[in-house]
């Protein structure tokens, strides 16, 4: 299988879908001629031209709104918000319009729109360019929320997102763009709501997405040397969420820890935790623990940023507490 980067997986998915379906268009700030500020989308403008690949003004409301209107009337747009934090500028278009239009119209409207944005911290981008924002979108029924952790999942999930008839928020972790991974040859589609067991284990279930999958994996390696076996689950999509895979794992291990690079209050781990206690409490043999950013904002200073973002050490400590060892 070929090895490509997370970044290359994005442009491959876009390229394949634009080649397959002339209704797929792509626009955002500097995504065309410049190939994107993260250099994620080079070559598309040259290949598909200025009608289908467009640079926009710095106008997030106009970008999302144009995506919605084009989607409602028969195109299948992919739009880029650059940094996920910028979604706050256009939450009305995303939450009040894209997410609710189908419902408010009694099912008359479809919004096959894919909103791409880069999220996540770790490189000193400061408080307004580093947040993991998935919870904003999970609170808006009507949206789907995708959080890929590796190149193969980027490829398979982005292609599925573009073909989906719902508005999909596709969140890329900006500090994973250079990470490499194997991707299958040929057409690769991953259905939404299909978690993957990244690592099999018996003593504790770790649920993590995006960059936290590798953080959990590093913790698992440390613990394995001590005879503690961790199972790691990557949900890959938070809406829809594959609770069956998580519940099956917890029923086996008896312990649940979520690893989230996001604010504690209202995070996806809280929903996972309560659903596990609701449906599998008698399988639990220890406390459910959430390793998160806490109630902080991503700081600029390097030591502070490293302090708030979950590390393998914090995950190891949480596992020890869950197992009471």
């Amino acid at each position: 299988m070929p090895v490509i980067t997370y970044r290359e997986a994005v442009v491959r998915a876009l390229d394949e879908e634009m080649a397959r379906d002339p209704d797929v268009i792509f626009f955002g700030e500097d995504v065309g001629k410049a190939g994107g500020v993260f250099k994620v989308t080079p070559g598309l403008f040259e290949k598909y031209g200025p009608v289908r690949v467009r640079d926009t003004p710095i106008s997030e409301n106009a970008i999302i709104g144009a995506g919605i209107g084009a989607a409602v009337t028969g195109l299948r747009p992919v739009v880029e918000l650059m940094f996920a934090d910028f979604a706050a500028v256009t939450l009305d278009q995303i939450i009040n319009q894209a997410a609710k239009m189908r419902y408010m119209s009694g099912g008359q409207i479809r919004v096959p729109l894919t909103i791409r944005a880069a999220q996540g911290g770790g490189a000193g981008f400061g408080s307004q360019h580093s947040q993991c924002c998935e919870a904003w979108f999970m609170h808006a029924p009507g949206l789907k929320v995708v959080v890929p952790s590796n190149p193969a999942d980027v490829l398979g999930l982005l292609k599925t997102a573009i073909r989906d008839d719902n508005p999909v928020v596709f969140l890329e972790h900006k500090f994973q763009y250079a990470e490499k991974g194997e991707v299958p040859d040929g057409e690769h589609l991953i259905p939404f709501g299909n978690a993957t067991v990244v690592r099999k284990g018996d003593h504790v279930t770790l649920v993590a997405v995006q960059k936290m999958v590798s953080v959990a994996a590093k913790a698992a390696e440390v613990l394995e040397a001590e005879g503690i076996s961790c199972e790691i689950i990557d949900p890959r999509t938070l809406v829809p969420l594959d609770m069956e895979t998580i519940l099956a794992s917890v029923r086996k291990t008896g312990r649940l820890i979520t690893v989230e690079e996001a604010v504690q209050a209202g995070g996806w781990g809280a929903d996972v935790a309560t659903r596990v206690t609701d449906e599998a409490i008698w399988s639990l043999e220890g406390p459910v623990i959430r390793v998160t950013l806490g109630q902080s904002i991503i700081p600029f200073s390097g030591p502070l940023e490293s302090h708030v973002i979950p590390s393998p050490e914090r995950v190891v400590a949480a596992v020890r507490r869950a197992l009471d060892v």
Partner: protein, 315 residues
């Protein structure tokens, strides 16, 4: 065209009056924003729209008139107002959220300024697919003060989208007089900032509205981009159900009642022997009967089944 515009204006007037009564009787819940006095904008705009070609409209929560003018049935509107399953949006939208895709109405947006960016997208589809369709966004005089308005007009101008931005300047943004919230005398004055035409039209004259919207549509279809149109009009009632409009200047309502859009068109038609005064009376009777029939239809309809609350969220 005159006859259709007249009938639709009368239907809108009669429907709004009946809707207000039904609110006061608690048959309709929530709130409502009525458009009596502004009917000429609705019918002048709608005369340009061809849904079969792909033309689309977004407008504001003061949208009953636009919906009816575009072709929504009275039954569908009244059932929606009452939250019934037979409503245009299965009762889940209500007064502020009317959609009628078959007639080109994407939605009556209840967030100020939210419709313009979406109209751009519909115009983008038309531009890319070469359908010759246009998209019109209708908004109030308070809307140019919100950021989404600026972003959308700017993008449409840069991309030369086949869009029309149609302002209903009814002199008040909610309760605030236009001149207290805007630094220029006319909404149309803002067009120069985007290098697009800004046109002022008598919003009480349905035929005049039609003429300027049609000209803007021809310009849009020719690839010349959007036009900003400002229709000077007036709402006879307050902003919403609970607003008695105490902020009006003395005599202002009477001045505008003397420029009533239905009277302007019907007088013209009488002068041109297209209708008689008796014929007009007959038309009013017919219109009120139709509105009453729609009221009774809607009242007899069932509410949606409870499981509908969890349907139509995802495809």
């Amino acid at each position: 065209m005159r006859s259709k515009m007249l009938r639709n204006m009368m239907a809108i007037r009669a429907a709004e009056g009946r809707i207000q009564e039904l609110f006061l009787e608690n048959v309709i819940r929530g709130t409502t924003h009525l458009c009596d006095g502004q009917e000429a904008v609705s019918v002048g705009m709608a005369a340009v729209i061809d849904a079969a070609r792909g033309d689309t409209v977004t407008c504001t929560y003061r949208g009953h008139g636009h919906a009816l003018a575009l072709g929504m049935s009275l039954n569908s509107l009244f059932a929606e107002m009452m939250g019934k399953e037979a409503g245009c949006s299965k009762g889940k939208g209500g007064s502020m959220h009317l959609t009628d895709m078959a007639n080109g109405l994407i939605g009556t947006f209840a967030i100020v300024g939210a419709g313009l960016p979406v109209t751009n997208g519909a115009a983008l589809t038309a531009q890319i697919k070469g359908t010759g369709a246009i998209s019109i966004s209708i908004f109030g005089d308070g809307t140019p003060n919100i950021g989404a308005w600026h972003e959308a007009v700017n993008l449409a101008a840069v991309w030369k989208l086949p869009a029309i931005f149609l302002c209903e300047n009814n002199l008040y943004g909610e309760y605030s007089p236009y001149e207290t919230t805007a630094p220029v005398p006319h909404v149309a004055d803002r067009a120069c900032a985007y290098g697009i035409p800004g046109v002022i039209v008598d919003g009480q004259d349905a035929e005049a509205v039609y003429a300027v919207v049609e000209e803007a549509a021809e310009r849009a279809r020719a690839g010349l981009g959007p036009t900003l149109i400002e229709a000077k009009t007036y709402r006879y009632r307050g902003h919403s159900r609970t607003d008695a409009a105490p902020y009006r200047k003395p005599g202002e309502l009477d001045e505008w009642l003397a420029k009533d859009p239905i009277t302007i068109l019907s007088d013209r038609m009488i002068a041109d022997h297209q209708i008689t005064p008796e014929g007009l009376d007959g038309l009013w009777d017919e219109t009120h009967r139709a509105v009453q029939a729609a009221t009774e239809f809607a009242m007899e309809q069932p509410y949606p089944p409870l499981e509908a609350a969890y349907e139509d969220i995802w495809v």
